[in-house]
Amino acid sequence: MDKRISRSFLPALFLGLFLFSVWSWDICAQSNSLDILSDTSYFKNGKDDWNLVESVKRIQPANVLFLLKRGADPNASEEGGITALMYAAQMGDTLLIKLLVLNGADLELTSVENTTPLMVAVLNQQFGAAHLLLKREANPDHQDKYGGTSIIYASAMNDYAMADLLLFFGATDSLKDLNGNDAMMTAVSLGHLETADVLLQNGIYPDNRDKKQRTPLMVAAQQGNIEMLNLLLENGAEKELTDYRNYTPLAHAIRSEEKNVARVLVDSGANVNHFISRSQNMYDLARKGENQDISKILKTEGAEPSPRPDFSEFGLGWGNSFGKSEHMMQGRIWWMDQKFGFFAETGFDIRPVIRTVQVEINDTLIHQYRETRSAWTHGAGKYFTLIRAPMGIEFGVYAGIYGMLSFPKRRGISENPGAEYNVLPSAGLFLRGKVAGIKAGTERYIFGIVNEGPWKTNITIFLRIPYNNSTYEYKEIGYEPY
C-alpha cells in the first residue's frame, strides 16, 4: 500500500466511524424517544384526532406516532382549519413534520384563511420547516384568502433567506395580492432593504406595479427611503413611469416633501418638466406644496411654472352685503385657479327681510313699497396673495366684477317692475387657510331706490374644496400573521 494513501485514508476512516457512531446514537436516541410515550393525561377517550393535534402542540413526537399508529387522522385540524401539520410548521419541528407527512398529512390542506403549512412556516420564519416542506414539494405559489403568497410573506417579514429559499424552489415572484402588491412592492413598502436586495439579485423586475399603477421606486420616493431608492435605481428601476394620477417617482418625492429624494432623482436624470395634468407640472406641484427647497432644486435644473391656470378648487361662500338701507344675503359657489388666483363665481342673493323702499315716480310723486328681492349673481376676479404664513395661511386682496340679475317683488302691487341688471365692481381683503377663509370688502350696486347708498360692505366666509390632487395617499401595507 502506498504510504501516502494510508496516511490520508486512516484519519478519514476514523472520522467516518466517528460520524457513523454519532448518527447511530442520534437514531437510537430518536427511536428511544419515540418508543416512550410522554404524559398522556390530557388525552380524551375516543378523540384521537383532537389528541393528535394537542400532542403536536405539546411537541410530543412519541405520542404523535402512537396516535398515528392507532389510527388518528394525520390531517386532523382544530377550529379555523388549523391542522396538526400547521402547528408543527409553526413551531418549526421537523421531526413532527416528518412524522405527519410520512403518515399521510396533506401538504396543501388550508385553514379558513386559505393558508398552507408552508405559509405558516414562512410567517413564523421557520426556515428548516419551510425547507422540508418545499423538499416534499409543497406548492410555493399557493395564495391565501387575500392573495398573499409565501414569498410575499417572506418579504413582509424581511426574511430574505426564506425569500431566497422560496425562489430557489421555484416560487413565482410576480404573483400579487388582492391590492396588487407583489413580493418586491411589499419589501419596498415596508422598508425591507435586505429582502429587496435579495429579490433584485434573483433577477426580479423592479417596476412591477400595484393596483394604482405605483412602482416600488415611487413608494421608496414617497417614503423618503434613500437607500431603497438607490438600490432600485442601481437595479434599473424606471424613473419616468407614472401611476394612476400621472405621478412619476419625482412627483411623489415632491408631494411628500422629500427633498433629499428629489435631489437624488433629479441628479439621476429624472424629468423635471413632466406634466401631471394639462395645467400642472413638477414645479407647480412643488410651489403648491410651498416647499421652497424642492422648488429651488427643480429651478436649477431648468424647471419653470406652467403658464396655464389650475382650476382645481371649488369654493362655497356665504356672505352678507350691507348698505345704508340694504341687506342682501349671498350664497356663492366658485371655481378657483389654485395657481394664479383667478376665480369664476356664481350664486344667489336674497334680501332676508321685507324692506321698505321708496321709488321716485316723478318730481312730485314717490311710491313706497314693502319689497322682497332675490337675485342671480355671476362674475369673475382674482386673488392677489400678499403674505404667505406657515400652515397654508394666506393674506391678500381680491378684486372682481360681477353681474347681478335681481327680481324685486312688492307686496300688493300687481305690476312688479321686472328683472333689473346691475354690474358690480367689488374689491377687498381676504384671509384664508387651507380649509376655510374670510373676505371683507366693498361692492357697488344700486336698485334705483330713494336715498340708497351705492357702496355696500361685504363680508363673506367660505370653505375651500380642492377636488383635484387634493388628497395625497401614502402607500401602506399591513400584514398580520394568520
Binding site: W318, N320, S325, H327, M329, P352, V353, I354, T356, V357, Q358, D363, T364, L365, I366, H367, Q368, Y369, R370, P390, M391, G392, I393, R410, R411, G412, I413, S414, E415, G433, K434, V435, A436, G437, I438, I459, I461, F462, L463
Partner: protein
C-alpha cells in the same frame, strides 16, 4: 386637517353663527314668534277680525288717508278711512287679501305707501287642548321710511 387649519375652521364657523344671529336680529319681531300662545285662542272660528295698520303721524300731517283694496292695488276699493293715530284698526274678513294705500304729503311731494297682507285662521286645537283658533297676519306697515 392640521391643528391651525382646524382652529381657523372653527373660527369661521363661529363667525357664521354670529352673522346668522345678526340676520335674525335684523328680522321683524313678528317673524321671530315661533311659539303659540294658547291664551290668544278663539274657541270658535271667527269670520272677521281686526287688521292693524301702522302709520306715521307728523306735525305737518296729523291725519293720513287710507284706502283698502281687495287683493292688490288694482283691486276693488273695499274701504276708505282716515288714520289719526299711529295705529289704525279695522274689522275685516278673515282669509281675504287686502292692500292698504296711505297718502302722505311732504312739501311739494306726495308719497304713496303700499302694503299688503292676509289674515289667516290657524287651528291649534292639538297643541292647546281645547278648540283654539288663532289669527295670523293682517298687519300692514305703511309708516314712512325715515
Amino acid at each position: 386637517m392640521s391643528h391651525t387649519s382646524r382652529n381657523f375652521f372653527v373660527s369661521a364657523l363661529t363667525l357664521t353663527m354670529l352673522l346668522l344671529a345678526g340676520n335674525f336680529i335684523a328680522c321683524e319681531p313678528e317673524d321671530l314668534i315661533f311659539e303659540v300662545d294658547c291664551y290668544d285662542c278663539f274657541g270658535y272660528p271667527p269670520d272677521t277680525a281686526e287688521l292693524i295698520v301702522y302709520v306715521t303721524m307728523r306735525l305737518e300731517q296729523d291725519s293720513v288717508p287710507l284706502t283698502f283694496f281687495r287683493g292688490d292695488s288694482n283691486g276693488e276699493v273695499d274701504w276708505q278711512d282716515t288714520a289719526v293715530g299711529e295705529e289704525f284698526r279695522l274689522d275685516a274678513r278673515i282669509g281675504s287679501t287686502y292692500t292698504v294705500q296711505a297718502e302722505y304729503r311732504s312739501g311739494s311731494k306726495t308719497i304713496i305707501a303700499f302694503d299688503s297682507d292676509e289674515m289667516t285662521l290657524n287651528d291649534y286645537g292639538d297643541q292647546c287642548g281645547d278648540p283654539c283658533y288663532i289669527i295670523k297676519g293682517g298687519i300692514y306697515d305703511v309708516r314712512l321710511k325715515e
